[in-house]
């Protein structure tokens, strides 16, 4: 290793690069931040897999997290559902592993056989973050394979909803690529065979003319019947639905071109338009391919099933049994461990419940629940083990009922894009010009009537027009992608440009979940903070840990007479001072003294000092974003939380009426519906399950997340939390993109006009068509991509 690497090792974990706070985890002179990272390193070096650390500096992910319960993988029905293929000897399973991020990951995961001899083969699809493992199921169970992945820090995401991408998408893309290949192959050959004709055949070469013509015709048959077949069926379906889209003039152009080519060649009257025809379909299909390329690693269709666990631990006669979530019935006793999710509405029977509902209700602070209270599904237990009794099956719970709403059943209304609207008028114009030209020649020169009619349809075939939108939007999508904004498809851009109403969720959307800080209400000196920190360090309660992290002080004194009353508070003697931390009841305070449920009160030497509470932090740039958007659009806030932040935000919203708090998921959906019914084009920003309904109902639902691998509710686009401040730029860029589409439409129309000038006179030669078509196509491709990039520079997105 080069010398500069030792510098990195000095301060940061050799495995994951986190700052090292304690120096006790060491192995082979390498330092690690935690036991997890050290274990991974030792496993890898024991199995000759240290190459992992050679390909990248710090390839690992931090291992400072909770242990998982994987017992459910031994349940036969669950295991069978997960594997792709199974026979007596081998099993194949495809797993989604969000931690895959660098070439070291590929290397390690493809060398799994060195770790676990039962693995026959493992293959990574890096962009989809998937690994396909073939293993001998006699020698290792599925659970052992997954445990091995977890032990080296590659924990797969296993959920009820299939996170592994269906092979369907691949099939469709393969078919399109095959079509492009056929069109490209024929296009190339036809071009070669047409060259002699362009340069004028001498008398000597006449004999080849027929031969070349026949070959051209033969090549254009598969292009029209196979590659171009989609345009005919699409045009026909649209006509049946009484719609005129761009596929109609395209199909008409293709058909006319083919018939005229066949006619000319068979009757020896000319060379036909085989070259233009093949080129047209080739370019069109490339445009289609551009349009279909999407983000393979992001799922936009998730619902509660991918958030909830696959299986739950139930208690039957004192024994713990894993049961698939769908088999959970009313009356079952279930066990929920620390950091697990409550899978169904249930009554608390045993344990100390401190539950984080921020993802489900938007409530920013964890709630304490007492024995006998009903706990709604979806909350995450923060400390200790709970025993609960299920009240309702999973699909009937308070939260999951939302998915029965009709917004989830009926597909979103597809918007009429600019190109849809324009193509309707274009088709009508084109047909009338063609008929007009035919009528004109009908009286003076009947021979030319048919020639000019077909020539108009051929030359005005809107190839460049059809490519304007896909190429512009594909360029915008890739620019957004670089800025941490991932779109489901390209109609989202046009939808964004039309929006006039912005609706925001609060918790997790405009606040940053990781940066939740604490504030102290009251008076406390630095020495006293040190005492508090030294006491809190002894407790593993989430609030204590949060407090220690917030105070960020070194350990100075140890606690004497330390006592912890689970769920109530802690006390101890620090450096001769009596320190107590906890709820108001624990400290013997009057209940009215406790305005916030999760306040941690502080008492030193029987003197009450005040309390710590968790405060949300706003996302970076929130004020600027709201100010900029507020100037041009109407803003609304829909929060499931209590209104304690209302006055921090009210300056940004037109009135308090547009800020709603304590909203249920259903109320959020209804509010969006109300806005839409009053003619507003809405865009909803949300993050949690409670926003799912609103995201689905709004014209455009954008999920905000700090880690794109985490769960995001079903949406049209995913925004990385770090790019929140760029929202106004994204909106501007999408408006500019629509401008670019308009301009490129104008350009391609002017090409069409030049062509029409020849066509209506009935003097269109194959050569003009063969030059004009690729020329206009290339102009459009170059123009749209450069214009989009220029606008992106202007909007500071590049």
């Amino acid at each position: 290793m080069p010398a500069e690497k030792t510098f990195i090792i000095a301060d940061h974990c050799f495995h994951c690069g986190e700052d090292i706070t304690t120096g006790i985890y060491k192995s082979d002179d390498m330092k690690f931040c935690c036991l997890g990272c050290k274990t991974v390193y030792e496993i890898l070096s024991k199995h000759n897999l240290s190459n992992y650390y050679i390909y990248n500096d710090i390839p690992g992910q931090t291992q400072q997290k909770q242990k998982l319960n994987l017992d459910y993988l031994d349940v036969k029905e669950i295991a069978e559902k997960l594997v792709d293929y199974q026979d007596e000897n081998t099993s194949i399973i495809t797993l989604f592993i969000p931690a895959i991020h660098c070439s070291s990951c590929i290397w390690l995961l493809e060398h799994l056989y060195q770790l676990q001899p039962a693995v026959l083969k493992s293959r990574i699809d890096f962009l989809k973050k998937q690994v396909t493992i073939t293993f001998k199921n006699q020698e290792a169970t599925l659970k052992e394979i997954i445990e091995m992945l977890v032990s080296i820090g590659y924990e797969p995401l296993i959920s009820q909803q299939d996170v592994v991408k269906e092979k369907q998408g691949d099939k469709a893309e393969r078919k399109l690529i095959t079509k492009i290949a056929v069109a490209g192959f024929c296009f190339g050959n036809v071009m070669l065979l047409s060259f002699p004709d362009y340069f004028g055949l001498g008398n000597f070469e006449r004999e080849f003319k027929d031969f070349f013509g026949w070959l051209n015709l033969a090549f254009s048959v598969p292009v029209v019947l196979y590659s171009g077949a989609g345009y005919f069926s699409s045009a026909w379906n649209n006509l049946k639905a009484k719609r005129l889209n761009l596929d109609f003039p395209l199909a008409l152009g293709i058909a006319v071109m083919f018939i005229r080519t066949a006619y000319e060649i068979l009757l020896h009257t000319g060379a036909g338009f085989a070259d233009t025809l093949c080129g047209l379909i080739f370019f069109l299909l490339i445009g289609k391919w551009m349009q279909q390329r999407t983000f393979q690693h992001i799922s936009f269709e998730r619902d509660y099933r991918s958030y909830f666990p696959v299986a739950v631990t139930t208690l039957k006669n004192g024994a713990e049994i894993s049961v698939p979530l769908s088999d959970l019935a009313t009356g079952n006793r279930i066990l929920v461990r620390s950091m697990e999710i409550i899978p169904a509405d249930a009554i608390l029977l045993k344990g100390e419940a401190l539950i984080d509902f921020s993802f489900v209700t938007g409530e920013s602070q964890p709630l304490k629940k007492v024995l006998g209270e009903v706990i709604y599904a979806g909350g995450r237990q923060l400390s200790g083990v709970l025993e609960l009794e299920v009240l309702k099956p999973v699909s009937q719970s308070y939260l999951t009922q939302l998915w029965n709403n009709e917004a989830f059943v009926k597909p979103k209304n597809a918007i009429r894009t600019f190109s849809d609207t324009a193509s309707k008028y274009f088709s009508i114009m084109l047909l009338s010009i063609a008929i007009g030209a035919a009528m004109f020649w009908m009286f003076s020169d009947p021979d030319k009537a048919l020639a000019s009619f077909t020539a108009v349809l051929i030359i005005a075939c809107p190839c460049a027009l059809a490519l304007s939108s896909p190429f512009t939007l594909a360029a915008v999508i890739s620019i957004f992608d670089k800025n941490g904004f991932y779109l489901k498809n390209n109609t989202v851009i046009e939808q964004m440009a039309r929006t006039d109403t912005f609706v925001f969720d609060k918790t997790g959307t405009i606040t940053s979940p990781d940066a939740a800080g604490m504030t102290f209400k009251g008076q406390i000196s630095e020495e006293q903070e040190q005492l508090v920190s030294d006491l809190a360090r002894n407790s593993s309660h989430p609030l204590s840990r949060e407090l220690t992290k917030y105070l960020n002080r070194p350990a100075v004194w140890s606690a004497d007479n330390y006592a912890e009353k689970i769920g109530r508070g802690i006390s101890g003697k620090i450096n001769g001072n009596d320190v107590k931390l906890g709820g108001s009841a624990f400290l013997g305070l009057p209940l009215s003294n406790s305005p916030e449920k999760t306040a941690t009160h502080v008492m030193i030497n029987d003197q009450y000092l005040g309390y710590f509470i968790i405060r949300q932090r706003w996302r970076k740039g929130l004020n600027e974003v709201l100010q900029k958007l507020g100037k041009r659009y109407s803003l609304h806030l829909l929060s499931g939380d209590r209104p304690h932040d209302k006055y921090d935000l009210i300056t940004h919203f037109e009135s308090g009426d547009q800020m709603l708090f304590e909203q249920s998921p259903q109320q959020k959906l209804d509010y969006l519906l109300k806005l839409q019914n009053s003619g507003k084009k809405t865009i909803m920003f949300g993050d949690g399950l409670n926003d799912s309904g609103a995201l689905k109902q709004s014209d455009l639902g954008i999920a905000v997340t700090d880690n794109i691998n985490n769960f995001t509710p079903g949406c049209d686009a995913v925004l990385d939390g770090g790019s929140f401040e760029k929202i106004p730029q994204f909106i501007q860029q999408s408006k500019d993109a629509v401008k670019v589409i308009h301009m490129s439409f104008a350009i391609s129309l002017s090409y069409n006009l030049i062509g029409l000038f020849f066509a209506v006179q009935g003097i269109l030669s194959p050569l003009i068509a063969a030059v004009l078509m690729p020329l206009s196509t290339i102009t459009i491709i170059v123009f749209t991509t450069t214009a989009v990039r220029a606008f992106a520079h202007k909007n500071r997105l590049l």
């Binding site: 000759n48 190459n51 699809d125 962009l127 691949d170 050959n189 070959l215």
Partner: protein, 60 residues
């Protein structure tokens, strides 16, 4: 000049062979993942001395 018919026939046949080869590549999934193989090819074989029996020595 009749040679040209034969030559054109040959060239088209050759092109068709490549087209069929491309179909085979697509069908066998070579275009499904266009990124990972580009990384995979850069990995060294096993480090010398660690697992010598897996190296290419057998070919010499």
């Amino acid at each position: 000049m009749n040679m040209i018919f034969v030559l054109i026939g040959c060239s088209i046949l050759l092109a068709l062979i490549f087209l069929v080869a491309f179909f085979w590549a697509v069908r066998s999934g070579q275009h499904d993942d266009t990124y990972t193989p580009s990384v995979r090819i850069l990995f060294d074989d096993e480090l010398p001395g660690t697992e010598a029996e897996k190296s290419d020595e057998g070919y010499f």
